[in-house]
Amino acid sequence: MEEVFILIRGTLMMKWKSTYLFILSLGMIIFLTACGGESEQTGSDAEGNNSDGGSTGEEVRGVTDDEIIIGNIVAQSGPQAIYGQIAQGIQTYFDYVNENGGVHGRQLKLLAYDGEYTPAVEMQQAQRLVEEEEVFLMLGNDCTPCNTATKEYYEEQGVINMMLGSGAQQFYEPPSDFFFGSEIANYRIETRVFYDYAVNELDAGRIAIVYQNDDYGKEGYEAVEAVRDDYDAEVVTEVPFVANEEDYTTHAQKVKDADVDTVIMLSTPNPAARLKQEFHAIGLTDINYIVSSVGGNDTTMFELAGEDVWEGTYSAGSIPVPDAPEAEGNEAIETYLEQYTEAYPGENYSGVPQWGYAGAEVFVEALERAGEDLNYDTFREALYSFDNWTEGTYAGVTFSPENHYGLTTLFMTRAQNGTIESVTDLINYDPETGEINYE
């Protein structure tokens, strides 16, 4: 008690200079807080120019006669540094386009900064790219929570974000003037296609939904919940798990006890591999195992789970895996392989770098369509003219004023003989009607 008294007395009885500083700083807070006034900036830059449309007066932000500056924020360091390959993919395609004369005589310049998969850092980098570097738009930003944190900022500043490295619904429903497309299939769309494919093509009757208990897994789970009554099948068990769980024995046992014929697994790669290993361990090998594309559509899964274990697993893709048989003769994929392996020899070329490259293809195509008179209005109009565009590496890209998803076309894949092969033609999802059409 005596010590507390000394603390209070010590804090109160200070040298007069410290007291002076204290009073000065308090006065400063009150004065400056009051002076701060109503300078909240909404839809305008610091000078008060309306920046919607990326334009300042007649000039378009980030666009000159011979250059377009594009921003990108992905994790380049830390545990999620693999997403740095998105920036490499974008840079590869930009280099290829620049070598061939650019777009309407303009060279493409990419400014890619490290977001560290941290919202605060990504916010800081967003401010730097928008306010200091004055980029035309943002392309391929990763990290769902980071994009959530910065969404309002981009909308206030009037900056378009396209081909996000996140398939979360909040960026596309309702359609925003500033968010267009994702590099990976929307989680809800993909799970809807899984459910439809399982029931109509694999004759599934008793289904288990195993999902990662976070934004990512729950989005897919909710998509199934919304349509489960429309199908002649039953979801007999729902098994949530946490992404960093190590032991999947009980989850596997729960699925086995439910006596299901199909498992839809909404997860990242590690849990997907672990669960299938557990299924094998308890002899549950005669079921359909369908894994979301983020967690399953990659040949590295054979190493992670074991070749025998992973064999037969279904997933989905929106870009063909370069080593898959269907990629043979695909001109866009061949160009990608040639360019990427030349730029980054010896590095992984499947999966994440493809997202960046494919996103850049969509962006460049939109620039081409927007014409020489480039601004946000012409750019948006150009995006809305995408109607199942298939000339890039994506299976199909569609935009409309009501559909900002971009990737509504995908195909089912299956792990076979050490590679991931396509087992269907293209499958189109219509966001307006919710219909799924098999080509």
Partner: protein, 323 residues
Amino acid sequence: MQLKSQKLKYIFNSVVLLFIIVYPFLMNMSGYWMTLLVMMTIYGITAVALNIMIGYGGQISIGHAGFLMIGSYSVAIIADRFELPFVITLLLAGIITAFVGLIISFSAVRLKGHFLAVVTLGFGISVPVIALNWTSLTNGYSGMLVTRPAILSELSLYYFIVGCTVLFLWFMYNILHSSFGRAFISIRESEIAAQSSGINTTFYKTLMFVISSFFTGMAGGLYAYWIGFVGPTDFPVTISFLLLAMIVVGGMHSFYGPIFGAVLFSIIPHFTDEFMGITNIVIGLILVIIILFRPEGLVTIVDWFKMNKTMEKADTISKERGS
């Protein structure tokens, strides 16, 4: 001599304060530059608070990012559920974090050295995991948006944060220069000697935790208001290591050292981000160089200048006397 040094310190403090006040106008009201300075202040408060434990008290903590996270989530949760004035919310964030610090201290005061490091490391690792999994409270992976107080524009919030920083640093400075600071130092130097001099070491070690976590929690609260979002990936354990690096590089046995460290490590990414993956290499290099050549931290460079000046003066006097 002492008087002159004091005078110089006040001039330096006033110039820094003046610069921070006009800074938004110098930077053309750029959100990026303001965020850069705000992050310096937040890390500055946290590094000084951490230094109360490590530099002054000799109690290692490598989980301080956990306290930052508790402070930021406290603001987000209180602002979301209760309509309290934002100053009260901020204060509550500090109190809640201090309470958690108090609980941690119950076990931590019985430990020292590596064992204490492991306990605090465990704390730093577990807080983000709890934030991720306690979905009903924290909104899990999605994080929580924090609404900026309606009465504060971006500029006034900037000044509010700067003002709070001055206030918090002033409080910590006075605590460290009171009998408490002396008690902390005596515990650092020799716990047995401190105890035999009548210092209640358990009480003072607990107090270190509480004071340090209180100010760190407040810094976390300021972060939440400025960024407008908190999520489970905001303060991983790597931030705890970065904070540690800040006080080592800045100077552990000085009040100003951690502030130098916080400024340095906040500004480095500005110059290195254009080059993919180079930031951590640069931070690592700086750490190695400082430990090799200035093990007492950057702040000793000032002492070195002072010493050189004194030597020059002594030389001049001896020469004058000689002639």
